[in-house]
């Protein structure tokens, strides 16, 4: 039982990393029609920026500022590189973000080193909160809380703000949104930045938990795509759910059959695709 809980909680944490990544990828896929392979690169960038900023503004300051710094860099990439490719064959933006992913990874390697760096978290967060549930440290609890709050805030923005309403409307019909006087160039830029903001946050949280390496982005991005497919393309709640499901499944599997912890993710994806090709909450007709 102890083992199961341990695995499930580990999985929940990793699942939240997947979910934050998948939510950002979904946002960008929905409105910008871009499959953002560079998402993992921006995630790592968020983590490393926090690592660099923490000595000056402290852990909490870095946690608050770095996602926005990553989002600002994402905005630059959208303005300078991705924007000219809107309206063209999706293959172009896919190739571009794939190249950008390689550049970002090598950039982090050049600046911060290939070895990886430990991201120091405040000492009091390192201790277990309970003797029985030794795996329940303050930091792990913090990860769950911050990720849950960020997800809640995202859904609140999409539901209640005009920006969110325009993003949801634009997912369905961007042309009509433009004809109603909305600057869709700005809307796409903000939406891209919002997605990168979530990636940056995931990078910082993951850095404190798993350490920072230049390849952390590329190792987390594939499961995040799987999360979208499992949850259903076009559904943000699906992406959240998909991330948590595969995270917990991988976490629990690690406890019993460590070798199968990665395979299980793809098994779940295969199973979902066989039984329900549109994913758990996916829109009808997208893949069927």
């Amino acid at each position: 039982m102890q083992l199961l809980l341990f695995g499930a909680f580990n999985g929940l944490i990793v699942g939240f990393f997947y979910a934050l990544m998948a939510l950002g990828l979904s946002l960008i896929l929905g409105l910008n029609s871009v499959i953002n392979f560079a998402h993992g690169g921006f995630m790592a960038l968020g983590g490393y920026l926090a690592f660099t900023l923490a000595p000056f503004i402290g852990f909490w300051g870095a946690l608050a500022v770095s996602p926005f710094a990553a989002a600002a860099l994402g905005l630059v990439a959208e303005r300078g590189l991705i924007r000219p490719l809107y309206g063209r064959d999706p293959l172009y933006s896919l190739l571009l973000t794939f190249g950008l992913a390689l550049i970002l990874e090598d950039m982090t390697r050049t600046i911060w080193g290939a070895q990886g760096v430990p991201f120091a978290i405040p000492d009091f967060l390192n201790h277990p909160l309970s003797d029985v549930y030794f795996f329940l440290t303050g930091y792990r609890l913090l990860v769950v809380i911050v990720a849950a709050v960020a997800t809640g805030a995202l859904f609140a923005v999409l539901r209640y703000t005009r920006l969110g309403v325009c993003i949801r409307a634009g997912n369905a019909d961007l042309e009509t949104v433009a004809s109603l006087g909305v600057n869709i160039y700005l809307l796409r830029a903000l939406n891209f930045a919002l997605g990168i903001l979530l990636a940056g946050l995931a990078g910082i949280l993951a850095g404190g938990q798993l350490g920072l390496t230049p390849t952390m982005g590329s190792s987390l991005i594939m499961p995040s795509f799987v999360a979208i497919i499992v949850g259903g393309a076009g559904s943000l709640i699906g992406s959240l759910l998909g991330g948590l499901i595969i995270g917990v499944a991988a976490g629990v599997t690690t406890m019993y059959i460590p070798a199968a912890s990665e395979v299980v993710i793809y098994l779940i994806m295969a199973l979902v695709l066989l039984i329900r090709p549109r994913g758990l909450l996916g829109q009808e007709g997208l893949f069927e």
Partner: protein, 242 residues
Amino acid sequence: MTLLLEAEGIEAYYGKSHILHGVSLSVAEGEVVTLLGRNGAGKTTTLRAIMRLTPPREGRVRIFGQDVTGWPTHRIARGSGNGGVGYVPEGRHMFRHLTVEENLRVPPPTPGQWSLATIFSLFPRLAERRTSKAGRLSGGEQEMLAIARALLLNPRLLLLDEPSQGLAPVIVEEVMQAVRRMRSEGTAILLVEQNAILALAFADRAYVLSDGAIIHEGPAAELAADSEKVKSLAGARASRAA
């Protein structure tokens, strides 16, 4: 009379097929102009070219005297401080999974007589259904929502593409009532219609489009009086209605 809209020599393509061949038309302040023609004549493309949803390859568009050729769609819709252009597309293009109220939040708030409150008094049915998903509205309610959405930009010019499409006659009458109200408030209207009889009864002036070119232009009443001409110019729908 000031011209609100002037399109001059519009050439438009869908991919490689040449749809509009030098279309020129104008709408004056407070005027209702209808654009008639058979299916595939290029009526919808003309409106899309004006909004730059289908960017014209040649030709100029002036709105309120200002050359807007090359402006992005949202700037044309918002206008340049003296009122925008409301566009109600063919098939309504609701955001189906958004509520009525959310649909109405998409256009940026613009100063003028049309606000959520005045819109709801013009279309009480939309007020009743404000929390319903737009996809669950009836065809007539969807048309009203599409018009309401465009009105929130406080346009001085409204482009209406086939507002009667797929609606029962009673509902068409209800929709036209709202359009008449806008007209009496001084909004100029460019109305694209398959139903020539309906459109001619309503408009001041008419253009007829065929194979992407204007083949007739004149007062609506004159054309309406000559049903043979309507039939030959604008196609079968008109003859059946006549």
